[in-house]
Symmetry: C2
Subunit: 212 residues, 2 copies
DNA sequence: ATTACAACTATACCCGGGTATAGCGGGTTA
DNA sequence: TAACCCGCTATACCCGGGTATAGTTGTAAT
């Protein structure tokens, strides 16, 4: 197991939400010592009032926090916003808690006291995941934008095309002439910026996979 | 959250590996009461000597076992054999243990004493996953067999075709005439039982996804 | 009412995929 | 040696995707 070095995470952000000031202080020191950009919050409320930067990001959450449960927060948050990798830290955790956290996609679940390096490793993994996710989201965003630039008719035709239907068949089902469908297909290829049917197929798959 | 009913799992197998006879007895009763097919083993060794039936299957493992650690066993086993869903149960577990188990893909990690229904829910989830996996493996197996029925040349060409290359380009790179490539492509479509280029593309993606 | 635009259509044409037929050369088997 | 299979090739042909040009509708904006 090779350890990811912090160098790759220049433009990343670590967010800590913990009500214990001493923890925040200690983590501030730890992160600055390895050159990680970090932001500290004492409560979820504070964090929500903050506008996240447009970088890879990883959350470090205390499970037990004033007002709100860290686990509940993670689940709500990952539904409303883009899923952000979470590393849990806690002094008073139990097994069901950790299992629930891991089930809902947490990167790691550490009990205090933990080794600094364990936390860093988890954060590096989280940031890497966030980065990958951001890249995927960017390409999917492009694709979706292109797909939405299609007219209703074009979308209909595209959906049938990627199912392998021939222009003739599509024309029959939509009560159009074959030539109309062909023109439409050309328009689709242009708008989607696809150079071949295969590429269009892959685009459609990507769009479906996330929409699901 | 709706509970999956055991009816769907007529042709399934639950495997319990636990060195405590009283646990095995209790679980035997539980499973028979809900109509689940179950096999009990006192050790990993015993289990390995057994030939698994060709059905969906879910393992119930005690983490701490004589001789071998349940976690290590899970990781080794999932590498060597097809991944089989695992539900851990333990009396003396800790958080790092549970986190490690969940990270390596366990369905659930329960601490004794647990509610019968919780175990059953986890098992149903595991069996469902196993079933899905079996179906996927079956179709991939077909695909792979077809792919392996291709000649070396045909595989070369197919790999280039699904990358979107034209017959002309393929011919140039392989120092063949265009017509040869076309004939080859036809042969590929027949052997792979693909009716369109799109279908061939999807097949290739499926093959790649598992091979990775 | 005129203009403008969008969707649809027809004709004609080009290009690439795919097949059928047939021929060629090399290696294997009887 | 003869028969045979296999991979490669050539010719000719068919079909479907894709474009260009041009013309038809209907509809919405001025």
């Amino acid at each position: 197991m090779t350890r990811v070095q912090p160098f790759h995470f220049r433009d990343s952000t670590v967010v800590v939400i913990d009500d214990d000031p001493s923890v925040r202080k200690a983590l501030t020191n730890l992160f600055s010592s390895v050159g990680l950009n970090a932001h500290m919050f004492a409560s979820i409320k504070e964090f929500l009032a903050w506008s996240m930067p447009d970088t890879p990001i990883c959350l470090v959450l205390d499970v037990r926090m004033p007002g709100r449960n860290g686990l509940d927060f993670q689940q709500e948050f990952s539904r409303s916003h883009a899923e952000i990798p979470v590393v849990f830290i806690t002094a008073h955790g139990d097994i069901p808690m950790s299992v629930r956290a891991m089930k809902s996609g947490a990167i790691e679940f550490l009990t205090k006291p933990f080794k600094d390096q364990d936390l860093l490793d988890a954060i590096y993994a989280g940031l890497a995941k966030s980065q990958t996710r951001r890249e995927e989201m960017a390409t999917i965003g492009d694709l979706r934008a292109r797909y939405e630039s299609l007219s209703v008719r074009e979308r209909q035709v595209m959906d049938m095309v990627v199912k392998g239907q021939l222009s003739k068949q599509i024309a029959a089902k939509l009560h159009l002439s074959e030539i109309t469908v062909k023109v439409c297909r050309g328009q689709i290829m242009r708008k989607m910026q696809a150079t071949s049917l295969l590429e269009l197929g892959r685009m459609s798959e990507k769009l479906d996979r996330i929409a699901n």
